[in-house]
Amino acid sequence: MTVEEIVAHCRELLDLLPAQALERARQLHPHIGGFGVFPVYAPLEIIHAAGLMPVGLFGAGGKIELSHAESRFQSFICSIAKSTLELFLRRDMDAFTGVVFSSICDVARNLASIVKRNAPGLYVEYLHLPQNLYSAGSAAYTRAEFERFRTNLSNHLGRQITDESISRSLDLYNKVRRLTKALYDLRRKHGGAIACADLYAVVQAGTRMMPEDFALLLEDLFHQVSSRKVRPRDGAKVVLEGAFCEQPPLGLIEVIEAAGCIIKDDDLVIGWRLFPEDVPLNGDPVGALADAYLSSNVYTSVRHDRDRPRTEGLMRRIAYAGAEAVVFAPAKFCEPALLDYVLFRLRLEEASVPHLKVEFEEKMWTFESVRTEVETFAESMLFD
């Protein structure tokens, strides 16, 4: 496939509902089971080692009417929670073996309970991911939490999830993360190599494919993109921040780029590319995964890191990307992102870094006001 065909294939996958994406994967892997992964992070390797396909559960992206979920969740709740619940209430997720939520925010926590009550036959897991990365007890706790996940899933499936199979999955996901990072590096170094919207479509589509297939696709894409002749584009070089959980519509990213911004780095689908280095394969794979979670220097708004504050993480990201500004794109009503925005903003103003905030939600279908805002923002920097 050409780059254009790969991107088109990925965009097509994103147009599907999770169950349809699972159905699509079954064309290549006829007996594969699906396991929903609500953002931000879950140990995908354990799910994959269990013979299941981890499927990113990022809501329904405005593709379904919210007939029931609106009565369960109030108007001030983010759209990903509502449309995810709607998928379960519509029984769209019946083909899935289970779903995992984690301690990212108060809404996600309550959502896990509500899904459990309204989808009685479904296996619903909830992970409490550590918020204290530096206690003497953190490593043992995190390992035990991932081990609990393995044991519960194994009991549910009635089959073992061996260390060997987890190691094989680690190897595969290491490769996926390595290739994803290589594409990000390429985009950072050569602005025109691949548009942010295209890379975003590919990375998010990766949450709807078996990692075996996704690694091949990424390899192909990387080779083609790296040999492309790139003509640098003029624009305001920015970092996109705030979309670590609910994912913005592709149209929003396209508009930000079309309005004059070159997105050099972002936190889109960050939970699926949380580890910047390979997770070691020798020894205890569950322990290695736990250590990787604790030591990862990739900041997110849903993990407290005493020694590496998010504000400094953003400053490092800006410097590393060679960006000159930040576009905040938090999901509407996303409490972690909106609270973090305050500290980010104060830090950026201290360092005289321009920034712009554009909130999004699933039902967003017109981007004209965003286009005007971003154009003005980009022009103000270009002609400063």
């Binding site: 926590r109 550590p130 003497a136 903003r345």
Partner: protein
């Protein structure tokens, strides 16, 4: 059906007075600490470990109590707006915004009413906003933050790894307190503090259970605020335990004499969710008009669900503190466990209805309360009313709309009761 005449009764009885006295004493110490250099620590209410701070004579400061006091005195809005000016969103928790705004306006530190904390203890017990709030405080004050990450309730009981993780962090907190104060940790002192905690918890439990009587001696939603300060902020002191002994004596006397909190108890309700502090009195009036008494409430259990039997154990000091933080408070329990708790309140406290007060600020409480309403009305047949406003931001409280909804609910409840009485009388007569 006309709305009954409003009550004009003054509820500031003995227990209210005692509570006001000891809470005023604590607030006075906070004020004094702004200038006398006393060591203080920020900590949150839910599932807290105030006993450890007390063991080192570190004054506990609760930003949540600061926020609610601003709201109940109708002072919160200017501080909320101050925070919004620096970037907080209208959708952010207004407790955070009021507290931060208050700090920015000089309410904390020299010249203010609250001391600048010497340390920040982030007891992450359920509420994710706690972490953000304290990250912001840590940033404002340039004060170190000690994180206590409490694993959320996700199995029938906490695992030994959960307990060990929390105990390890408590030991690290103790080390941090030793370093801060220069004092050596004295486990016997902690045991004696926990003895007072347990005495207060027994009193709390007894008071809550007295509301099973008809009439209930106090309103377990609106009057619980008098007991929540002592049990959550002053727990571990002799004065708090004595306060509960006095409260028990007062409420037992009322029960023995058949005296209720209202002149007549027509409806017994359970209320879920925090109150609208900016409109506390008028919200209360809307229920009292109908002679509706809250015989139980979930909000009163954010610090601890003691009425179900848990008490701190001086013989297992750190273990029991860990268990309290993980398991025995509302905030660290799932929505489904909360449904169980409410169901027990409805059945064991003989309630007629459930009222859900959904607040925008606190998604821990409110996210998904529509499902709760669905469960209680459709699965359990419990008449349920859901109303919306906020616990801190007065802009979200619409008095007329609130009154309409509450009046309509109780009218329907009353009508249903009359019909049932008629039908029962007809059956008895035939």
């Amino acid at each position: 059906m006309p709305t009954p005449a409003p009550l004009t009764r003054d509820f500031r009885g003995t227990v209210h007075g005692l509570s006001r006295d000891i809470m005023t004493g604590w607030l006075t110490r906070l004020k004094e600490a702004t200038s006398n250099g006393a060591l203080s620590a920020y900590i949150m209410i839910s599932g807290n470990c105030v006993e450890i701070l007390r063991c080192f004579d570190i004054l506990p400061v609760f930003p949540e109590i600061n926020a609610l006091q601003l709201a109940i005195r109708k002072n919160s809005l200017p501080y909320i707006i101050k925070s919004e000016e620096i970037g907080y969103a209208s959708d952010n928790c207004a407790y955070v915004k009021a507290d931060v705004g208050y700090t920015l306006c000089g309410g904390v530190g020299a010249g203010g009413n609250m001391p600048k904390p010497t340390m920040i203890v982030c007891n992450f017990v359920g509420c994710n906003v706690y972490i953000k709030w304290f990250e912001h405080c840590s940033n404002m004050f340039k004060v170190p933050m000690v994180m206590l990450d409490i694993p959320f309730s996700r199995e029938q009981s906490p695992s030994k790894e959960d307990i060990r993780y929390v105990i390890t962090q408590l030991q690290e907190l103790i080390t941090a307190c030793e370093n801060l104060t220069g004092k050596k940790f004295d486990i016997d002192r902690l045991r004696s503090i926990l003895r007072e905690s347990a005495r207060a918890e027994r009193g709390w439990t007894r008071c809550k259970h007295l509301c099973k009587n008809r009439p209930a001696p106090f309103d377990a939603y609106f009057d619980s605020i008098n007991m929540m300060g002592p049990i959550n902020a002053l727990r571990g002191t002799r004065e708090a335990a004595d306060f509960f002994d006095a409260a028990v004596a007062e409420y037992e006397r009322m029960v023995a004499d058949g005296i209720g909190v209202l002149d007549e108890e027509r409806f017994r309700i359970v209320i879920e969710g925090p109150p609208p502090y900016p409109a506390y009195r008028s919200f209360r009036n809307l229920f009292e008009t109908w002679r509706a008494v809250a015989v139980q409430s979930t909000y009163s259990t954010v610090g601890g669900t003691w009425e179900f039997g848990f008490q701190h154990d001086p013989d297992r000091p750190l273990e029991s503190i860990a268990e309290q933080m993980i398991l025995h408070n509302l905030c660290n329990r799932t929505m489904l466990q909360r449904y169980q708790q409410i169901r027990s309140y409805i059945e064991d406290w003989s309630a007629d209805a459930l009222v859900i007060h959904s607040i925008k600020s606190c998604r821990l409480f409110s996210a998904g309360q529509g499902d709760m309403r669905e469960h209680f009305t459709k699965d359990l047949g419990v008449p349920t009313l859901m109303v919306e406003s906020d616990l801190e931001d007065p802009r979200y409280y619409a008095e007329a709309q609130m009154k309409n909804r509450i009046d309509a609910f109780f009218e329907a409840l009353q009508y249903k009761r009359i019909r049932k009485e008629k039908s029962d009388a007809q059956k008895a007569g035939s």
